[in-house]
Every structure is written in structure tokens, then in C-alpha cells.
Symmetry: C2
Subunit: 396 residues, 2 copies
Amino acid sequence: MKKATQQQTKEHNRSLVLKIISEQRNISRAEIARVTGLTRTTVSDLVSELITDRLVEEVGHGESMGGKSPILLALAENSRFLVGLDLAHDQFYGAIVNLRGMIQQTVELPVDGLTGEEALKAVFDVLDLLTASAFTPLVGIGVSTQGLVNSRDGVVITAVNLGWRNLPLARILQERYQIPVFVINDSQAAALGEYTFGEGYQQSNNLVVITARHGIGSGIILNGELYQGDGGGAGEIGHVTMVREGGLPCRCGTIGCLETVASTQAVIRQVQLLSGDPAGINRTQLSHRDAYDAVIRGYEGGDPQIIHVVMNAAHFMGLAISNLVGTLNIHRIVLSGEMTRFGQPWLDVIRETMEETTLYGLARETHVEIGTLGENGVLLGATALVLKDMSSLISR
Amino acid sequence: MKKATQQQTKEHNRSLVLKIISEQRNISRAEIARVTGLTRTTVSDLVSELITDRLVEEVGHGESMGGKSPILLALAENSRFLVGLDLAHDQFYGAIVNLRGMIQQTVELPVDGLTGEEALKAVFDVLDLLTASAFTPLVGIGVSTQGLVNSRDGVVITAVNLGWRNLPLARILQERYQIPVFVINDSQAAALGEYTFGEGYQQSNNLVVITARHGIGSGIILNGELYQGDGGGAGEIGHVTMVREGGLPCRCGTIGCLETVASTQAVIRQVQLLSGDPAGINRTQLSHRDAYDAVIRGYEGGDPQIIHVVMNAAHFMGLAISNLVGTLNIHRIVLSGEMTRFGQPWLDVIRETMEETTLYGLARETHVEIGTLGENGVLLGATALVLKDMSSLISR
């Protein structure tokens, strides 16, 4: 517990006012006073500061409630820009976004197999392009990577695919680009992205977002804040053991992890083993992405063997969600990542399995749905991390 | 976010001062000022109020640091008392405790099989005895029960063994005893108990306490607060599916839950099926408690079949903890409940399994240990719930 001081109170209230203007879109000073319980004078002072800082602007007049028609305020969404970077398995995907998470410009760089210094060089390549863009001022860079990340210090503890270990990524990028840099695990980023910019999640205090692509992970929002655990690794459900006997080896070193049965790599591997090569992916050396596209085509074409593989993956995802619901009792579970391309039938099997295997009282009110941000969720989440502390934004 | 007001600030600071006096035991006003950052005048005023309320007392003089030797303050631990009640599977166990969780008087009532109104009548019987004791004033009653509980409203949503459904237990008891009543799930209570009164946990911000007895559940402490989830059911790991094929039916209606393989009922059931009846529990109709004592005797006597059953239970507990660690990345996991009577060999297998099946980076810093409160943990946790809001105590 900390001592509450006047200065803290002021900063707290200023962030609060900015948050409300950001969420409500057009809102008057009087309405802000009503919602926050702050006096009109206090609200007016804080709004003046935010206008001076060009974070808030007056955008017209609202309906009169009898007296003068009130001036409406809105977030100056293009007054500052952020860089987001998603270091995904087979490509690095970067973008410039505004304060509302609207994408202004993107850069994609295929990186299949790059590791160590080469991978870091590729990060520079993407960021060099983005930081040279016409969107200014840039107030920060958010980078998401698979693996275990210490977000507080901006250090990538281990990212197996990228061959990084104890890499002080935030410091390196901060020195190079001279703006604040934040680093976050990709699944945690996706959760923050959906929560911050997705449609309709802000009302939920608690939310779990599961990202299922080449790897599987989740991000947990508790009381409106990303929960990262004691070591930054909260939500690492991809390596929960699902198959105890006869499980496949996982890149983490153990066997039968959720990733080995419910990820895109698991589905591709199983489809490759099917008789008759129904997806046509064994003849040539396809990239992960092309192989996955081929599987999707086979699935959408109704191939029964491929459908069986996908539904089996869905079944295991349902079991994993059942575990999560039992542990956290969070009513809203959102799915994101490439696996969501299997759509409604995949989602239905996940839901059925979850309902069958979860304690009745817990499953009843639990909703499992597909996220609203598509493949941009991770990238947007990385920028949301920059935005998270509204007060730090104010002082820039 | 709420508006920070002067009144809130004052209450916050008063709770803070009381908390520090409670934690530090003998402490001077000057030291409180140093620790909290509050001015000496503020601290003196708040301490005066707490002394007037008889919550704090002066207990002597500390060492002089040059000037006058400072007066030391301590919590007036016997100035108020609390009632705790643990509605365990086979007996209701109640006690009067002081403000430090020290047990003053206990009542035990065997209840094997009581349900519905009869069970409620047994609760009255225990509480009638305790509330008539000489320990006054009583400031509140904390009741823990298995099942799904809405702690906010004090309603037992479902408690299968007790045959309760949507029972407004807090309201019923409050009307009968005219003091505040709090209701909590038993595993959540155990977590709160260990965290509040156990040795050495207060430094951890995050903690998971798993209670393994007739049922299995856990309580999750996050940022120093009990996390209950959207519906109050957080920590219900007893019904996570552990055996997918050939699992035993669980009282929850599904099959292969953790409870069916790692609880005292699971161990008793499996020992009963052993050839030669090594624990000698098939000849007579033993109570759960006596059967379990017989199993413990066989185990301590070195019966290899019984040891095998217990180690198998430990293995599944290790897997369940691995799931938890993957999801929450909490470094400290505490085990409580009757299963802990299997001691070190049981704990060793749990640890080994956890380490083998958890992602390396997460397992490395995770400590699994046996709790310090023994079978009193649940009961003490129920009283900790009453104590949780120190400020509510102040106003009484």
C-alpha cells in the first residue's frame, strides 16, 4: 500500500478523465463530472491540460439539455502514433497505429528460420522503415515475441524459435530509436489487444484470450489489467500436458503438450500423415503458411480425414479451456490466431467439449467466442502496452 | 477507477497503520511514519484513534536511538474475537479465535451424511455453543463450505455433499446471531488462512494453496488478495479432467477428475480394491476418517501396494500443479489438507512430476511445499475473511 498524495490524486484523476474521453468518444465536461464524481472545476482544469497537450480536442456541440448546448470532447486520435511489431513464427509484421489502434501503415518481412543476430537485424529492418514514415510524433514501440518475456525490464528470457536468450531487446531498440520500447509475450499481447481495441470486451473485468497459431498461449486480463505472473510467464497453456501416454515430443522438451495436438503445426503434421495426402502438401517443400493454406482448402472442401484432424484439435482445445475455466472461473474466453480460420464447426466442438468436461456451475455462464481483431490482435496488443499507462503518454 | 477523496485517504491510511502494527508486532510511531511515508502528526492521530478503539495498545519502551526511548505499539489481539466454522466432509469444526488467529476454544460435531435442513441445524448447534462462550466481544463469523459460494452475497450456490442449493447462509446466520457473517469456499478459505496466519507467506504477493482432502480445491492469492473469479469458483481444480480414457465417475457428474485420483476418497477407494485388504478396511463399515487412518497406518508400515496407490495420487497432483504453474506462473504453491499426512515421499513425487511436465523456465523457480497451519487452515481462513477488511473492524 502506498500513501495517497495530492499529486497522485491529480495524476490519477487526469488519467481517469483521459480514459473516459477515450472510451466514450464524444462527451461533455458536465458528463465527465457526472461519471467521475469530480467537481466541474476540477474536470475543466484537467481537460484544459489535456487540450494543451493535444491529447483531447473539442469536436462540436451536443444536444442542449435546456441551457447552452455543451461542447463535446474527443480523443485526438491522430495526435501521436505508435509502432507495433509482431515477431510471428514465419514473418515479422510491423505497423504504425494511431491512439485508437487504427492501422496507418504496415511492413511485412518473411523470416522463416532466422535466428540470433540475423533475427535482430530483421527487427531493425522493419523498424527502420516504420520509424522513417511520415506519421509523427511516434511515442513508443511495442514488440511482441513468442517465448518467455520479462516485460518490466524489456528482456526476452527465452524465445526458442528466434534463438534468443536473455536478450535486452527494449534497451537495444531504445538506444537505436530513442523512444520508449516495450516487449511482451505474443499471447499476452493478443489479450491486451482484444481487451483494449476489440469490440465489446471493456465491460468485462476479467478476460482470457487464447492465441492458437504455430504455438499456443494465452493472456489473462484480471480486474482490467494484464496478469503476467511472478516470472512473466502466466498464460503459457501451450505446454500443459494433454496426452499422457503416446504423446508427441514438443519443442519445449516434454511430450504431449497442448501445442502438439491443437496448434497449426499439429494440424499440418497430422494432415501430412494422412493416407492419400488429401491436402497435397507432401509433394513439395511448402512453407508453414502455404502448407496451412492447403490444409484450410482441404477442410473447406469437406475432406473427411482433414475435418477429423481439425475436430480432434478442437477437442483438445476444449479440454484446455475447461482447465482454464476451472482454475480461473472467468466467464469470457476469446480465441484468436490462425486456428480460428477453421471457424464455427471448430468453435462448436471446443464449446461442446468445454461444457462436457467443466464443472456444471462454472461452464454454465462461460462464453467462448472468436476474437474481433483477426491476425492484427498481437500487433495491436504490443501497441496497447505502450498506451497502457495513459499518464506516461500525457507527459510526452 | 474511483475518485480519491480525503475521507477515503484517511480510512486507507488508518487501515495501513493498523496493518503495519499487526504485522510488525512491536513498533514505534516514528517507525510507522518511516515505513508509511506519512507525517508523524498523521501517524500520532491515527494511532490515538486505534488506541481509543482498543485495537492497538502501548506495550512498553523500545531502545533509545539517542533521545527518549520510543513507546512500542502492538495489536490488542484479545480485544475482539471471531468465530470460524469449517463445514468439512465428515465433521463440522468450529472455533473462537483472537485477532491473530490464535484458537481459544473449539467445538467438533460429527456429521457424516447430514444434509439440507439437518445440516443447517448442525451449523446452529455448533454456533450456539461458540457464541455463548466467554470470549467477547465477537465481531464476526466466518463459515467455510465445500462447493460453489458467492462470498459477496454470502450465498452457497451449490454444496453437493450438504444438499444445499442457493442457500443464503450469511443472511440466515446474521439474523440468528446478530453479527456480521461471511461465507467462503473451503479451499479458498485455506488459502486465505495460510496467507494471513501462516509462517512466511506474507512476503509473496501471489500464492496458490491446494487443499487435498475428501475433495480437492485451491485458493489463489493474487497481489495479496484472494482471487475468486467471475462467479466465485476460481481454484476449482478438483474437477479438472486428468484421466481421459477409463476414468472413474466423479460426484460432479463427469469422469476422471483430479478428485477421482488424488484425494483421500480416491486413495481409500483404490486401497479397498487391493488384493489381500492390506489396510484392513473392507471387513467393517468404517467412517471416512477411520478408513483413512487405516490407510495411513498401512502406508507408514511400508505396505508396497498402498505406497504405490499414494504415489500414483501424488503423480496426478504433480500434473495438476504443472497445469496451474503453466497458467498462473506463481512461484509458490502450498499444499494443505489430510493428504499432506503422506508427508515427504508424497511431496517428492509431486515435485518431480511438476518439474518433469512444466515448461523449464516456469518450473525452475517454483517451490512446492506443505502448509504450516495443518488442519486448522480452512477454519482460520474463514476468520481471516472477517478480518480482511481491517477498516470494517475499526468501526465496530
